[in-house]
Every structure is written in structure tokens, then in C-alpha cells.
Symmetry: C2
Subunit: 344 residues, 2 copies
Amino acid sequence: MRATLLYQAGDVRVEDVPDPKIQQPTDSVIRIVIGCVCGSDLWPYKSAPFTDHPRQMGHEFIGVVEETGPDVHNVKPGDLVVAPFTYADNTCEYCRMGLHTSCRHGGQWGLNGVDGGQGEACRVPYADGTLVKLPVTEDSPLLPDLLTLSDVMCTGYHAARTAGVKPGESVTVIGDGAVGLCAVIAARLLGAGRIILMGRHAPRTDLGREFGATDVVAQRGQDGVAAVRELTGGFGTERVLECVGLKDALVQSAAVVRDGGTISRVGAPQYPEVPFGFPEFLRNITLTGGVAPARGYMEELMPRILSGEIHPGRVFDRTVPLGQVAEGYRLMNDREALKVIVRP
Amino acid sequence: MRATLLYQAGDVRVEDVPDPKIQQPTDSVIRIVIGCVCGSDLWPYKSAPFTDHPRQMGHEFIGVVEETGPDVHNVKPGDLVVAPFTYADNTCEYCRMGLHTSCRHGGQWGLNGVDGGQGEACRVPYADGTLVKLPVTEDSPLLPDLLTLSDVMCTGYHAARTAGVKPGESVTVIGDGAVGLCAVIAARLLGAGRIILMGRHAPRTDLGREFGATDVVAQRGQDGVAAVRELTGGFGTERVLECVGLKDALVQSAAVVRDGGTISRVGAPQYPEVPFGFPEFLRNITLTGGVAPARGYMEELMPRILSGEIHPGRVFDRTVPLGQVAEGYRLMNDREALKVIVRP
């Protein structure tokens, strides 16, 4: 089959790789119907050194089950399914507490003989635990929305949930990428009264307004902080959803959060240390969040997509065929596209 | 009056200072009955450079109201009162949410013309908001217990409350100082099922067992981490109460907390950055806590002292008269005493 390989920064190729086969009795093999490029794929796209053992890329996909191992009972050939961005058994102690990203048997796509999601097919470990069946057909117009359950919608929701957003509260969302926009949706779902989106790209923040942002702050640094403070009577917001992953975004988060408030970080940290010492201690600021256990949120969020209550698939603004996936990376990296669908 | 002054590291003196007087209509002046030395006093005691404008020391005290300004209505001359380690108006937005340490009019003892608590008397700003009346007389044997409401008992409780300790949960307390021991009391009050106290000083950890610790781990570093992991089936504990304030203690906290768990820090940070980058992000670890808004917990905890349910005053193992306060500092700094009462 054909799959997306990253050889080094800026060098994405589609090449032939071995067809996936059942290896464990708990595996299934699925034919991928729709995948996409993630903001987190851009970190290695920007910086990875050359390798002659390139990794299969992609960790968000919907597909049709083609084959199942003898211990797979929850899905069967022909089912349309969505996968979270890490696989998990959904039965261990961590999965039972909703922390599927810490699953004792879980792992990442594209590593250790497991395929990636930007390809024609994929071997899925722990298929019963990992896959969630979709009650639509593969030609459904809801497929892009449902694809966001793999990652960005669940990640935005994780930010809002771990931040503890409650009805009527004020929330700042830092970052106008797909996760930030989904965090706006999530904050609104949880009843936030004021949602301030900090981002500089008008087409994205405009979509953020449609998703529920009550205010947009385009300024950065001290000007941006001053704007949020002015909107909140000088206090800052009770919750901050940090959807970038850079240290500057954390500093900004601390500057716009109210004393006693909570910052949830869901942007993959590109920093080794958090600059929260004595001043943030004196302000009783909480730092929470982390990598989103998407699998734990999928059943909860899916009905809201199926009912049309939320429409997170609007973050996709381009579609490329698998053969042009490199162009998809380029579009996102150059900010010509917000998020790109890949169709095998 | 006489008061304790810190001139530089290791140089604590008792000298005459001006008698406190009412300056604002919301002030009161109290005669101090009992005060004490705090672990946090030891940071400047270890490191402060010389000054010829020495600060009045002490921020924990019980006293008798001698005089009140015309706008003070909640306390009157003759009342025995306890003060929290920061003063606060108890009416602003932050105080109403229980975050008295962020009070818009609050501040620290011993600064800006406000006296310290290791002296004969003290001017108390915002007396109505700051002071809590005690329903005992100044010769009550409960005075040391009630004195812990100024700081250490409320600080330990803040750790447990912000960590979100729930009945049956597992908790590690890092640090066997007075705050750590009070955190053990607090974890037990909140129903923790297992309380692992990490500390190396047997007389202190023995007291910790009496306060409710189910296990004591005396080893440090990797051995200590291994011991906690072994006690918890490999997982670590759901909550960690960090009662030290050093970076090493934070690293240890992360190593003994369960994935998805919460670390509450109440030790004053002696570090500018928190070493929680990508690995802690992947484990969904939450960092909370901060300086304790003691005033917000005093009414809640006082009945538990008056009823004899908790006995935090046992952390005091020495008493010195005011004239020997320097010896009190030395005893604590040399770890010959756990916590020292100062009697004017």
C-alpha cells in the first residue's frame, strides 16, 4: 500500500510500504477513508534530521474495517470507524479512569510496526478498545466533523474540561489553530459566559467567533494582555486554554489568568521548563492539561456532531489526495491552510 | 515596645521600636500573647544581606485587642484574636472567593509600617477582615493549636484542598516540617485512604504517623520514589502535597504522582522555573497550590481544634521568651527544634 513518510524536515514522500496484516489476535486492519495533517506533524516537518528509516505519518483517520483478529468483538468487517490519535486497550486502570493516553498497552501510530494514518490502510492494535464505530456511511457529509474526534475536537475539549470551565465563567483561548478553535467550541459547550480568543489570523478568528468566541484579541505580548485585562475589569479570565505549546504562550497565559485561576495546556510543549516560580505561586495559579485522552471523549462528543449542535469539521479548509500530501504539509506550514484533509 | 528584627543572615535581634498606634479607622492594635517562628523565616535567616533598615519579623500570632479604630466593629478591646499570615479586608472580590492572599487591600506583616508578629504588640490593618475572635481565654491550653491557624495548619489544609484530596484516595506528603505534618492532618480530615509521608527525621515522621500517616518513606531520590511506587502497585499516588519549596522536591513530586494526578505545592518556591515539560505533559500531571489564603480556612478549621478532633499544636516542641528569639531561630535552623513558640 502507499503511505506518507517523513524523511527529514520539509521532505514528505508517499511511497510503497508493506500491506498491513493482522499480527495479534486483538488487531484489526482498516482501509482508510479520510485522514488529515495535524499541527503537531509540523514540528518534525520543520526540524527533523534526515533518516533512512522514515516514520509513517498521520494519527487521525476514519476507515472501514477490512479484517479482524479472533479476539476482536466490538467491530466487524464493513464497519466505518474512527480512531483516536493514540491506540489503547480501553480496559486497563488508566483507561477506566479516562486517561487512555497512559494506557498500559497503548502507543502511537507510525511506530513499532504500527502504521500511520496518512496512508491507504492501517493495522490497528487493540481494535476493540481503540476504534469507535460511526453510525454513518463513508459518503456522509459529516465525515470531516467526525474526523476531528481523532484529535483536535477532543484536544480542545480536554483543555476546557481539565481547566474546569463552568457555566458563566470567563475563558481565554490562546491560539487560533484548529485546536484553539475547537477549544472555543468546547468552552461554549461547557457554558462559558465570555470566551476571548487570542489570535492574529482574521479568517481563523472569524471562524472562532462563529464557534462561540465573544471577543477576539489580535494583539500580542503586553498589548494583548492589556486588552484581555480591560475586557475583564482588570482581573483576567478564570480559565485559560493554552493551545500553542510555546513558552511565550505560557507566559501570556499567566498574564491573562485571574489570580486563583487555571491554565490548561494542550499544545505539545516545545519547552523543558514552565516559568511559574514565586510570582505565580503567590497568585495561586494552577497548571493542568496535557496530552488529550481523545478515546475517553469520543462517545460523549459524537452525538453533538451527529445532531448538528457542533460543527468542528469547519476547521478543514483544504483537501488533497494522498499523492499530494506533501503539498498539504506545505500549505499548513506556510499558513495557507488551517487544516488539510488527506484522501487516499 | 520590643520587637524582633533581622539585620542579616544569622543576625536576629530584639530591639525597641515605636509603639503601634491606630493610623487608619480600620486598624486595631493588639497586645501579642503568643507568636512563633516559621520555616519561611529561615529563608532570610539563611541568606539575607545586611541592612540598617531591618524588617520586623513574624507573621503568626494570637493577641488581645487593646484599641480599635472607629470603623472596626467585629472585634473590641479585650477580645482574644488570631491573625492569618497576611492581612486582608475580607470583602473584596478575591476575599469573597476565598483567595485572601490576593486581597486588593491586603499585605504582609512587617512591611510598610505594619508590625511583625514576633514582638510585644502589632498594628493590624483591616482588623474587621483580618482578625478572628477566639472563644477561649489567653491561658487556654489550646493556644498553640489555635496559633497554627495563622499559617501552618491552614497551609497544610490548602495543599490538601487544592490537590482535591477525596475520600479513599492515596496521598504523598513531601516534607516532614510543620507544614508537611499539618498536610498529613489535612489529608486525613479529607478522608485520604493512604497517606505516605516522605521525611528523614524520625521524631517528626513519628508525629506524622500519630497525625494519620499510614506509611513513612525515609529514603530520598530514586530509592524514595521506588518505595512509594512499591506501596502503590507501581502507580504512585493520586495526590502529592509538596511542602518543601525546593526544585528537587518538585522533581520528586512528579516521580511519585500517578499519571493524571495532582501535585499541590505550598512550600515557598526557591526556584524560578518548574521542570514540567513534555514528559509531565504526556502524563497529564496537574500542578496547583500556592500561598495559602489562611484567613479563608480559619473559621472552618477552628471547630475541629476546639473539639479536640485535630491537635496541630503538637508541631511546637520548644518555647522561648521574646528576649531569646534568636535562639529560637538557631534551634529551628539547626533542626534542633521543629517549630518554636515565642512568648513576649
